[in-house]
């Protein structure tokens, strides 16, 4: 069955795409299409005028000064297997390998996962934890958006009309000693997260946490950092008392709702359990 598409513009370069989108911001950008096609099939965006980005988005993953730059068109499969990313941000590689199944991962792009702004977007928690920058391209050139300021609500982002995601920049000058992503869903593979969690920790020689970052997905209107968890970890070793303080603290960082995938109370229990398990793993227990 054909999707309801009025027209599709297929630019030959990224610059052409940016120029066209600036002129006509009502177009619907589509990259891998693995999420948008599902929504279109359900009747959303009927009669859309599509802007096909599949051939023109930057796609390489490259070191650039103190950053790794990931082109918005890099696929989940490319991110999961990227050597440079595995060494500085394993959580992002783990998350990319958990987005849908392998054929989805070979098509879905990082830019698409972020632009869709699902509260459950699996790549979001690791990027929030890593203080990533979303680089937006518009008529006026490129601008950086802090990952934390990028998500505005379910399906809402802070791109301006006519802006496209160009790339994502990860600061990598001080890679953490521990970086993980995990998600909980109805089944182990190919599932939308009921709760997802990423934590990165810097530990000193005495085993004290010198820096902590945590973020969760599917527990609020946007993927979000967990400042209370971070605050109770810094300056302490990962002993059972510190872990149980973090397990309690996460409740202050989340505002889950009841939806088709789980009730709010379940998400609260699950978030606590995921924090506990991940910190136990970090402590070597």
């Amino acid at each position: 069955m054909d999707l309801s598409v009025k027209d599709i513009y297929r630019p030959l370069t990224f610059d052409e795409a940016v120029a066209a989108f600036s002129d006509e911001p009502s177009m619907l950008p589509i990259a891998g299409g693995t999420d948008i096609s599902v929504q279109m099939r359900a009747g959303k965006f009927a009669g859309a005028h599509l802007l096909d980005l599949s051939g023109v988005l930057p796609r390489s993953i490259s070191a650039d000064g103190g950053f790794i730059e990931i082109g918005a068109g890099a696929t989940m499969d490319e991110i999961a297997d990227s050597g440079p990313l595995r060494s500085v941000c394993p959580a992002l590689c783990q998350a990319a390998r958990k987005v849908g199944a392998w054929p989805i991962q070979c098509r879905a792009t990082l830019g698409g996962n972020l632009a869709n702004a699902s509260p459950a977007a699996d790549t979001a928690p690791p990027l929030l934890v890593a203080d990533a920058l979303v680089v937006a391209a518009g008529q006026g050139g490129l601008r950086n958006i802090e990952a934390e300021d990028f998500f505005a609500g379910p399906g809402e982002n802070t791109l301006k009309p006519g802006e496209l995601i160009h790339s994502i920049r990860l600061p990598v000058t001080d890679p953490p000693s521990f970086s993980r992503f995990t998600k909980l869903g109805w089944q182990r593979e190919q599932i939308i997260s009921v709760v997802s969690l990423s934590i990165s920790l810097h530990l000193n020689d005495q085993g004290l946490v010198t820096k902590a970052a945590a973020a969760l997905g599917a527990v609020a209107a946007t993927p979000k950092r967990a400042p209370s968890v971070e605050a109770v970890l810094v300056g302490h070793s990962l002993d059972p008392a510190a872990i149980s303080r973090a397990v309690e603290a996460v409740q202050n960082d989340i505002t889950p709702i009841d939806d088709i995938r789980a009730p709010a109370w379940y998400r609260r229990v699950a978030a606590a359990t995921l924090v506990e398990r991940m910190l136990e793993e970090a402590s070597g227990a």
Partner: protein, 156 residues
């Protein structure tokens, strides 16, 4: 009538051009326009893997990909695995091991399996994770894993 667009792509080694509505899915182009009906539609929502084909050698769900976005690319379907009348090692192995029962998931399973072998993914647990998007309700997967093992040894 919606506007139509022209799409050029390579299917199973042959360059082809199609005039289609802009919202045509790759799956429908393959089955209806190119007449290659080996690729199946299951859920149509990227959940079941029945429609998996290779795009430039990697598996993708053809029900979620617009044909228009495949301009200039190379598509391989299950029909394209046959060379000089001989089935691919994975196809032979699926027959030999009984990895085919009702057969509906088989074309998709075979395409993902071919990509696994071509990418040298031979760890069985990892193969299981990579095949998690190809739902098979008949075999319990054991015979499919066996087929991968057999094909992996004959393929090298």
């Amino acid at each position: 009538m919606p506007e139509t667009i022209i799409i050029h792509l390579t299917i199973n080694g042959t360059g082809r051009s199609f005039r289609t509505p802009p919202g045509r899915r790759l799956l429908d182009l393959i089955r209806d326009d190119a007449g290659q009906t080996g690729t199946k539609e299951g859920c149509g929502a990227g959940e079941c893997g029945a429609c998996t084909v290779l795009l430039d050698g990697l598996p993708i769900p053809s029900c979620l990909v617009l044909a228009a976005s495949c301009e200039g690319h190379e598509i391989t379907t299950v029909e394209g695995l046959v060379h000089d009348g001989s089935p691919h090692a994975v196809q032979e192995a699926m027959v030999e091991t009984g990895g085919v029962q009702c057969g509906f998931c088989t074309p998709g399973v075979i395409m993902t399996s071919v990509a696994l072998l071509e990418n040298s993914i031979d760890d069985r647990e990892e193969q299981g994770r990579r095949l998690a998007g190809n739902l098979c309700r008949c075999t319990g997967y054991e015979k499919i894993f066996h087929a991968l093992e057999v094909a992996g040894t004959t393929d090298d």
